[in-house]
């Protein structure tokens, strides 16, 4: 009984193997014939015909199943969206960095253009463009450090201009590689100046963080807000005619009968990146010490 069953199973297995081998041989023949026949061959035409038959059904089903497709797409897109978000964030950071870099280059370009214009407008002067390398940490000292010194041809008391050609201060200390510039707002700073409108002479004195004050020699001189104040050249440190700033406030006469005239410096003293040092003509004398100052 068992032997009979075993023989039956054996036969069945043999039949199945024979069937598979037959099917595989048919497949190999099909592949061979299909690969060798031309595009207009029997099997190729059969495929085209089949596609023509099935395509209307596929179109219909595609319409019916479009909500399902959209649903799957939505779920898949959610996953993709997260990756996309991270990628875009990274890209945004890179772009922001490039924008900042370009902005810095634009500002530098503007600054250099402005300096070239100053040079062209003052053919009698010789300038040296120097980077600002630091500021004095002491809040009572309105000074900055620049990256050039004796070895670059700089000397004490040379006038220092901002990128637009306005007076920013003068060198008060020079080492071989760096210099300290006293800004016109420093309380120890005093510069000979005059009103551009009528040539009335005076002295500019620093007021610390409050700006600059002009003390006119002629107390009855005509003066009004908005007037431009320029260097007078007197005192021998700053060349004449350099713009300093505009009058913003004229106060009542004080006890010493002087008029309080407040100047807003044109130079952006708190945002100096690069300055122009007037190398020629060189300063002739030492500056006048601001009287009564610390």
């Amino acid at each position: 009984m068992n032997r009979g069953r075993t023989i039956m199973i054996e036969r069945q297995n043999r039949r199945q193997r024979a069937l598979v081998i037959t099917l595989v041989v048919i497949c190999v023949l099909l592949v061979t014939v299909y690969s060798r026949e031309s595009k207009d061959g029997l099997f190729h035409r059969l495929q085209r015909l089949s596609l023509d038959i099935i395509s209307p059904l596929q179109k219909g089903m595609s319409k019916v199943l479009s909500p399902v497709k959209d649903g799957i797409g939505f779920v898949v897109d959610l996953g993709k969206a997260r990756g996309e978000r991270d990628r875009l964030r990274e890209e945004f950071r890179d772009m922001q960095g490039r924008v900042d870099e370009l902005e810095a280059l634009r500002l530098e370009n503007e600054e250099l253009k402005s300096m070239i214009a100053v040079k062209e407008n003052n053919p009698g002067f010789e300038f040296l463009v120097v980077d600002v390398i630091g500021a004095n940490p002491d809040i009572w000292e309105q000074t900055i450090q620049i990256g050039a010194g004796y070895s670059d041809g700089l000397r004490e008391y040379m006038a220092v201009l901002s990128e637009d050609g306005s007076l920013a201060g003068r060198i008060i200390l020079c080492t071989s590689e760096a210099s300290v510039v006293q800004l016109i707002t420093d309380e120890k700073s005093s510069v000979g100046a005059k009103l551009q409108t009528n040539g009335e002479l005076g002295v500019l004195r620093g007021e610390g963080r409050n700006g600059v004050r002009l003390e006119l020699l002629n107390q009855d001189a005509e003066v009004k807000t908005g007037d431009l104040v320029v260097t007078s050249g007197l005192g021998g440190t700053c060349p004449a005619g350099l713009p300093v700033g505009n009058i913003t406030e004229i106060s009542e006469r004080r006890a010493d009968l002087s008029v309080g005239i407040v100047i807003e410096p044109r130079a952006r003293l708190t945002r100096l990146n690069r300055v122009m040092v007037v190398v020629s003509p060189p300063p002739r004398t030492a500056p006048i010490e601001a009287a009564g100052r610390r």
Partner: protein, 166 residues
Amino acid sequence: MHRRLTFFVVLVLALLVQLTVAPEIGVGSVRPDVLLVATVCWALFEGPGQGALFGFFGGLLEDVFSTAVLGVGAFAKTIIGYFSGELRQRIVSKSVAWPMAIVFFASILHELVKFATWAMVGLEDRPPFSFGIIAGLALYNALLTLAIYPVIGRFALGEERSLMFQ
């Protein structure tokens, strides 16, 4: 007669789903191979001979209704159908995890056989091999087994019951 009819109905249904529904439920570039899942499930219920036959006709029809090299799909599915049927005698558990695992590995083997055949035929414009896509397809097919295996089981067992009543 009933057996052949059931075979034909399951085959045509699987083919129609493969041609119309499968392209619509793809995830990314992975579209499920319903015919392959049906071949493995049919072989697990009916044995290696029936599995090979189902794979052959399913693959052949799929090739006819596509622009693929005729015979390659039939060849790959015949092999898969036969070996899946052979596994039936070695698995005693009725858990659906087994068919899922078999479909998973069968899907990988199926794609490898197809790529190997394309290479042997010297097909020039064959798709670039991507194991990621193959793994995704195997996973999708394995998940689809959860839905297809009971349906084919019902067809196969229903047929057995009707034979018993005859």
